[in-house]
């Protein structure tokens, strides 16, 4: 009972905050709603005994990705009148996607996988089964190739981003900090006999 109460709390808040992301006028508010949504999704993972996935969701998405989102949004200027014209521009495309998604959701919900009682109150494994270890075992044996490919793709993206944005400016003045740190008194002060 406590568990289904928590499931309903997390799931309900998740849906409500997701609505908030879409409907909020202020982009900063939508980012905060999205953060809150991720939190509730992490709560759902915790209810399913998948604490590793839940914590990783918070660590990666809330702790890193959303901070970058917020950095970008902080720099943008919001224009009220532009907002209205862009709504009309994207209405048709967005509508099609929304209808398609709705159909998929209805199809998934009526497929019988999510029958009453199957949510959240799945069988519990107990604390002695460490799902961090289980995920590690599977990732590094059965799915090793896919895991390594994903890692390489991320590394390439990382280096690519650096290569694309780095540029040496001729007029910028750089300081050589190790030279600054190595300076001793003898290099700067000269004793003059008067």
């Amino acid at each position: 009972m406590l568990e289904s109460a928590f499931f309903n709390l997390f799931a309900g808040l998740c849906v409500l905050s997701a609505l908030g992301v879409v409907t909020a006028r202020n982009t900063m508010h939508s980012v905060m709603f999205l953060v809150f949504c991720f939190f509730n999704a992490a709560g759902l993972f915790f209810l399913l005994d998948a604490e590793f996935l839940g914590v990783i969701l918070i660590l990666v998405y809330v702790g890193a990705v959303m901070v970058l989102f917020m950095f970008v949004i902080m720099m943008l200027e919001q224009k009220k009148d532009e907002l209205k014209s862009s709504v009309r521009q994207y209405l048709s495309l967005g509508g099609v996607i929304a209808v398609l998604l709705l159909m998929e959701f209805v199809a998934a919900a009526s497929s019988g996988v999510f029958v009453h009682g199957a949510h959240a109150t799945a069988a519990h494994l107990g604390q002695q089964i460490n799902n961090t270890e289980q995920i590690g075992q599977v990732l590094y044996t059965k799915y090793l190739l896919g895991f390594e490919i994903a890692a390489i793709i991320l590394l390439v993206a990382l280096i690519g981003a650096v290569v694309l944005t780095i540029r040496k400016r001729k007029d910028a003045k750089y300081q050589n900090i190790s030279a600054q740190v190595k300076v001793r008194r003898e290099d700067r002060v000269r004793k003059v006999r008067m």
């Binding site: 009972m1 406590l2 109460a5 202020n26 900063m28 508010h29 905060m32 953060v35 604490e51 590793f52 914590v55 990783i56 918070i58 660590l59 809330v62 702790g63 890193a64 901070v67 917020m70 950095f71 902080m74 604390q127 460490n130 799902n131 961090t132 300081q175 900090i177």
Partner: protein, 353 residues
């Protein structure tokens, strides 16, 4: 489970939360007192000694003053986020204490098996700590943005960059601890260090201890990394804050300082174990709090000793020195664990082999 059981459970949870947060709030108040007295002693002056005997009531007087001050909300500020930002900064710090194990107790022999003194003995405690403590960034970002003024936004970007940069090397430092202990559970990590001073992870991971503690310094924005509150940079994200909301930010800062000290003692300094096994008759919580107090003293000592870093120096230290250094140490530890001739050296600390 009936409704009555749920109510009892809720009351127990509330009491557990209070048992952690009230001592933290009190110790934050008295750390500010200790800080002023210790810095005074180091600089050969008195420090605060007027309010009450030896100035002991000074924190309460400061709290009262801040409480009675008017909180000014700028006219063009985003009111909701302006008011919410200090709370967003404080809550993650307090929530992180949920997994900190303060010791082990059998309640004077009542329980057969000693229980770990933590609100939640989570299997992924270390990851939870990393995840939750990285969230206070939002409070600082929001404070800068919601103030709708140029100095706070510059300050908040500066302090966010600082926090994100040092989190990376902190995380890699923790990886070496996980490699030795083979667990993410904080009480298992402490158990792996049982058996006296030589078993503590500060011996094989001494460079990581330094990196973790200095990064902790940078994370919490303490001197020498206090660019968030420098006068010459027009303070930081908190320029527009006053009264109680300003105090909430410093509460978050000092709370994070306690957390970092606790974490360093748990991960590297043997947690609740005594340096010599014979001294374990003294309760573990005394040892843990003694180690933590020493580290908090070290934080204050840093403040009295070091001049402030320049911004580019700080970024260089985080990305160009700590990051390669921690990555290199992960490589070295891995090499020692899996090379046939070398593994007998590190087997002494490997709990899982």
């Amino acid at each position: 489970m009936s409704v009555m059981d749920m109510v009892i459970q809720a009351v127990i949870w509330a009491l557990e939360v209070l048992a952690i947060t009230v001592p933290i709030a009190l110790s934050v108040a008295y750390i500010t007192y200790a800080e002023r007295r210790v810095i005074g002693w180091m600089q050969v002056r008195k420090g605060c000694n007027r309010v009450g005997p030896a100035g002991l009531l000074q924190p309460l007087a400061d709290g009262l003053k801040l409480f009675l001050k008017e909180t000014i909300i700028p006219a063009k500020a985003n009111k909701l986020l302006f008011v919410g930002a200090p709370v967003l900064a404080l809550v993650p710090t307090l929530a992180a204490f949920a997994v900190v194990p303060f010791g082990e107790t059998s309640l004077f022999g009542l329980w057969k098996v000693p229980h770990v003194m933590a609100i939640s003995n989570l299997n992924v405690g270390l990851l939870y700590l990393m995840a939750i403590s990285s969230l206070s960034v939002y409070g600082f970002l929001m404070a800068g943005w919601a103030s709708n003024s140029k100095y706070p936004i510059m300050g908040s970007i500066r302090s966010t960059c600082q926090m994100i940069s040092y989190e990376v090397s902190m995380g890699f430092g923790l990886v070496t601890v996980m490699m030795l202990s083979g667990s993410l559970n904080l009480s298992d990590i402490v158990h792996a260090q049982a058996g006296g001073l030589l078993h503590w992870y500060m011996i094989p991971l001494f460079p990581m201890l330094l990196v973790f503690f200095i990064s902790g310094c940078a994370e919490t924005g303490r001197t020498p990394f206090d660019l968030t509150e420098t006068e010459e940079l027009v303070s930081g994200y908190n320029v527009e804050y006053s009264g109680m909301w300003f105090a909430t930010f410093s509460l978050a800062e000092y709370g994070a300082m306690i957390l970092i000290s606790l974490m360093t003692s748990i991960l590297f300094l043997g947690g609740w174990y005594a340096p010599i096994p014979a001294l374990d008759i003294i309760p573990g919580i005394v040892w843990l709090l003694a180690k933590t107090s020493f580290l908090i003293f070290t934080f204050i000592w840093f403040r009295a000793t070091f001049p402030r870093y320049r911004y580019d120096q700080m970024m260089r230290l985080g990305w160009k020195i700590f990051l390669p250094w921690t990555l290199g140490w992960i490589f070295v530890v891995g090499l020692f664990i899996y090379t046939p001739g070398l593994d007998h050296i590190i087997n002494f600390w490997l709990a899982w082999r």
